[in-house]
Structure formats: C-alpha cells, structure tokens
C-alpha cells in the first residue's frame, strides 16, 4: 500500500473533482482517491504496483493535468 499526493491543474467546478475521482478509481489496485477542489490535491491510496504514470493518465483521461507528485 502506498499513499500519494497529486497536485491537479485545471479543476474549476465541482463536477471536476468527481470526474477525477471516478477516473482514478478505475485503475485496478487503486483503493481510494479523494480529490479536493479547494486544495487542488488528489490523495490516492493504491497497491504498490500501481504506477504514477497510470495515475497521471487517469487524471488526463478526465481532462486534467497532474503538475506535481509527492509521496
């Protein structure tokens, strides 16, 4: 299990946070994703084998961009 913090750019409305959560949660092995529009951060809990690249892709799929990844 690992916990990762993503800073997301381009969130501008409430449905954005929901879209990102929905997209992230489609990644197999991803346990939890909590996105806050207020802090522009997504806090993700996932199995160790889930790559950061996959998370970036999931955020991009929903139409947003990851600008920073922290552990």
């Amino acid at each position: 299990m690992k916990k990762i913090k993503l800073t997301v750019e381009g969130m501008h409305c409430a449905s954005c946070a929901g879209n990102i959560e929905r997209s992230l949660k489609k990644i197999p092995g991803l346990k939890d994703a909590r996105v806050s529009m207020m802090t522009r951060k997504a806090i993700v809990e996932a199995d160790d084998n889930v790559s950061e690249e996959e998370m970036k892709k999931a955020v991009a799929r929903a139409g947003y961009k990851v600008s920073k990844i922290e552990n």
């Binding site: 381009g10 409305c13 929901g18 879209n19 929905r22 909590r34 996105v35 806050s36």
Partner: protein
Amino acid sequence: MKKHTKGKMNHNHEQTPEEQEINMWKKKLVWAWVITIPLIIVMYILPLFDVMIEEEIMRFIILFLSFPVVFITGFSTLKSGFKGFVSFYFNMDSLIGLGTVIAWLTGVLVFFMEIENYAGIAGMIMAIFITGKFIESKARGRAGAEIRKLLELGAKQARIEKNGKEIMVDISEIKVGDVIIIKPGEKIPTDGIIVKGESSVDESMISGESLPVDKLKGSSVIGATINQDGVLYVKATKVGGDTFLSHIIQLVEEAQGTKVPIQKLADKITSIFVPAILFITIVTFAVWMYFSGDLSLALAAAIAVLVISCPCALGLATPIALTVGSGIGAKKGILIRKGEAIQTMKDVKVVVFDKTGTITKGKPEVTDVSTGKNSEKEILLLAGSLESLSEHPLAKAIVKYCEEKNHNKFMKVTKFSALRGRGVEGYVGKDRIVIGNRRLMNEEKISLKDFEKDISKYESEGKTTMIVSKNKKVIGVLAVADAIKEDSRKALAMLHKAGYKTVMITGDNEPTAKAIAQQVGIKMVIANVLPEDKSNEVKKLQNKYGFVAFAGDGINDAPALKQANVGIAMGTGTDIAIEAGDIVLTTGSLVAVTQSINLSKATFKKIKQNLFWAFAYNTIAIPLAIMGLLHPVIAEIAMAASSITVVTNANLLRRKRIG
C-alpha cells in the same frame, strides 16, 4: 512586530494558482464586456431611441460581436466542455459550451430559415458566465485563505555560519544537527533546540496562543514561528517532511478531501448531474417541438435548461464550508481531521475529559511528605530508587523531588516491575518495597491505619497519594499535586452553559478526583479507572446518554478517543498524536475543546444551509426553464448567482464567534 511576520526572506512573490485563476477570469471578464456592452447597446438600447438598423446589417453586427465573446474569451470553457463529450467525463463547461454554441448558431441559421436569432444572447450568456466564475473564484480564494496561509507558512531560507561567515542557504540544504542563526523578527526555519541565545517567540501561527513564549537555551522551537527580540542559535532536530508544520499541513490537506456524510446525496447528484441535464435538455426540446412545433421556442427552452443547470452550488456546498471552517480552526490551533466529526458533533450530549494533562497541566509535583516516625531520607531514597526506573509522570515528579532534596544516591533495585494504574514494586537488598495508591495497598493487604488521616487529608485536597511501604508496612506517604490549567474552569463553564453534560475520568481515587472536579465545576466523576478501561467507560456512557466526545492526550488515551463518537486529541507542545483524534488541538488549552465543539456545530449549520439553497435552487429553477418560463439570459444570471451565494454564505462563517 507585525511587519516582520510577512517574512523578509520571500521577496519575489510568485502568483499562487488561486491568484492565477482569478487573474485569468478577470482578463476574460474585461474583454467579454468590452464587446458585450456594445452588443447590448445595438440590440436593446438603440431601438429605444428609434435608431433602426436594417435587419440584414443587424444580423451581421450581432454575429460579428458575439463571435469573439463565445469563441475567444470562452475558448477554454468550450474546449474543456467538448472534451467532455469525447471522453464522457462531462463537466459544467459541457452545458455552457453546448448552450452558447447552439445559441450562436441560430445567428447563422437565420440567414437560411425562419428562426429567432439567439446569437447575441449567446454572447451575453458567456459574458455573465465569465463574470460569475470570476466572482466565484475570488470568493473561493477567500474561503481558502487561512489554509493557504498555513501551507505557505514555512521558511524558504535559513541562515548558517560557514567559514566564519553568515550565509543564507535554501531550506532544503539544512540537515538534522545543523545550527541555524535566527535574528530578531525572522522566521525560525525548522524545528530545533536552542543551543545559544534567548528570546521570546511568537507561536501564534501554530498554537493560536497570542502571547509570545519565552525561550532559553535548551528550549525547543517550532519551524515557522517568529523570533521576536533576541538572536537564537538553533540546532535543527527535524527537517523537511518530519517537521511539526509539515505534519499539520498534511493533516489539513487530507482533511479537505474527507467527506461529511450529509454530502453523500449531493455528491451522487453532482456525479450524474451533467449527463442527466443533457438528457433533460433533449427531452425538453423534443416535447416543445412536438407540442408547439415552434423551433425557436423549443430552442429557447433547451438553451435555458442548459445554462441554468450548474452542479457547482451542490458540489461546492459542503467542501467550501468545510474549508472555511477548518481554516478558522487552523488559525486557533484546532485541526479538523475528519469531516465526519463536524456532523457527529451536533448530536454529542456528553463531553468526557481525561484528568491528567487535559484538565490539569499534567506536570505533577510533590507537595507534601508524611513520614510518621520514620526518617524522610529513608522514604525518599527508597521511593526515588524505585521510581527512577519508571516512566510514569508521577514517578518523574518523585524523582525530581528527591533530587531537589539531595537524596539522590539511589540504591540498586532488583525484581522491579511497574504495576499499571497502581504503582511500582521491587526489592532493595532483601526488603520488598511497594509504592502506589490505595488500591495497590488493598491488594497487597497492607494496613494504612497510621497514615489514614494524612492520606484522607491529601485526597480531599485533590492530591494524588503515593504510599511507600517496606515489607508490608507503610513507612511514609508522598502527596503529589497536578495543578489545574488556568482556563479549565472557564472552558467548562462555557460547556455547561451550552447544556452539555461533562464527565471527568481518571485513574486517581475518588476523593482526589472529586476534589479536582469540584474545582472546575464537573459533577460526574469516574475514578479509579485503569488506562485500558477508559474506552469501556466511554462505551458505558454512550449506552446511557448517547453520543460522547472524549478529550484526552492522544498517547495514553488513544483507545478512548477512538471509542468516542468524536475524539478530541490534545496536543502538548510539539508532540501531537495525529492519528488518534477526529479533531486535533495543537494547544493544550481546554478552551480550544469548547471552541472546537462550537466551530464544528457552526460549520455543520453552514453546510446544511448551503445544501438547502443548492437543492432549492435546482429544484425550482430547472423546472421553470423546462417550462420555457425563463429567458436564457435570466437563467444564466440565476445560475451564476447560485454558486456565488453558496460560496459567499460559507465565507459568512467567519463572522460567527466560536468563543
């Protein structure tokens, strides 16, 4: 001193993402209206003065003026909206984008067929939308101001001595053990211990405590606090992600993403909102076409539905109030860790306080020694020898007292053991020494008769007694008192006034506990509780009275904090037990407990108000739009107003006094 708090070290101010967003909308807003105002003049004002422009020319003017508003200032909105149609991750831009583009296209269609020209309206809708977004982003920025301040609190640079010269280095270069020099008025860059110098330090940004704290050599200091008047040499003990500030930031950021249960329905609606509205729009259009056969009317209703519907009010209702609430809290040293606690708090009837370290200072001192006919030296030496092996705060108080009295040549102890919640035992030479409370003496069947009078007296004064016995015979009694925190009385009076039942829980015996409880005004006391039984006692209270909040120090009381419906973990200096509490207080102040209760209730009330407005708005406005009763421009104004209302209402939380 105020002027220093801005931080000298951060001259070149970079724009925060919030400021960038506000500025982006501002720029668009200006351009949108520069074009939209002439558009309005041409469309509505000139006809008032009987200035008639030929229909053909008018069409071109409207199309020409509204184009840049919709497609240039609205470019990013359209792009993000139409991306939604491709990826099926719809957002509110999808609605606005579709609404304005369809409206604008009628301006083209009008050249080929009989249709009402909505192109001008498209421009107006986009301009109002941008205006709404601008106001909302400003209000949102204000809502997050405190939290952002907290995130930006850390120092960027630190001053160190190198080759006899003082130089500034980037904070990331500081390692544990480095000595940092902090001049008056500067920010202390990281957590550490003072190795040279003395000063007073303003810790208000961390603890909410407004008075500066005096610091001497050996005192620990917290990064991001402000050195007031002396030069300090501080050895870094924690850097980077390990610092107190980093922990708090992490906690606050995580809390922002937690959900308040009441939000669930709103979240569910938000997640299907846009596709649902798209469906409703199609149905609205079809039904209007079928019954009226008028394409223009059908389009007007469809556009109104598209632009009036915005998930923002619903989706923002809770997070925005939570942000404002936790921001207000953070400023006062109250950290809301779980959004759920805010909702639970409103049902709390009983507040349970741990005694030691919560109501009292948690730094016990020996106040009396009763020796009977025995020598004080022997009592203290034996007590000190055993207690020096224990980590208990009471033990430390005794050892400290022995050292002060110069009875510090402690003897060798064998077969030592600490008896949790009762005392200690061990052998000094061949003598079996047992030191502890009444309960332990009863278990050991040791008679207290010669000392009963003194013991009762100490207990009635609220002191903890440590009975020293040698070979099953009491040789002396030490009384230890733990002073009550200055503001405990006031905090409890506030709670009583608000109608809460308060309970004190402690491992002390009944008379001692009652004496303390009486001093602070608590009527119900649960005494003689072993640490591991505290959570059971909480459970019993829950069965009897309903929801219970527990305030305690997070380290010993972790199970009780978990068992309680709301666990309030009290901080003691730099050690805060983050994991244990739903709400974490960085200060040890009991007033902060009361404040955190008031803040939670006020925040939850705002959440409820916001959700009410958001639901009311959507359930009234959308049907009106479907019925074709709202002009698309009015619809757009209403939409912008709805999300601004929610954010502004949350900001009003600041006016609330939380004590």
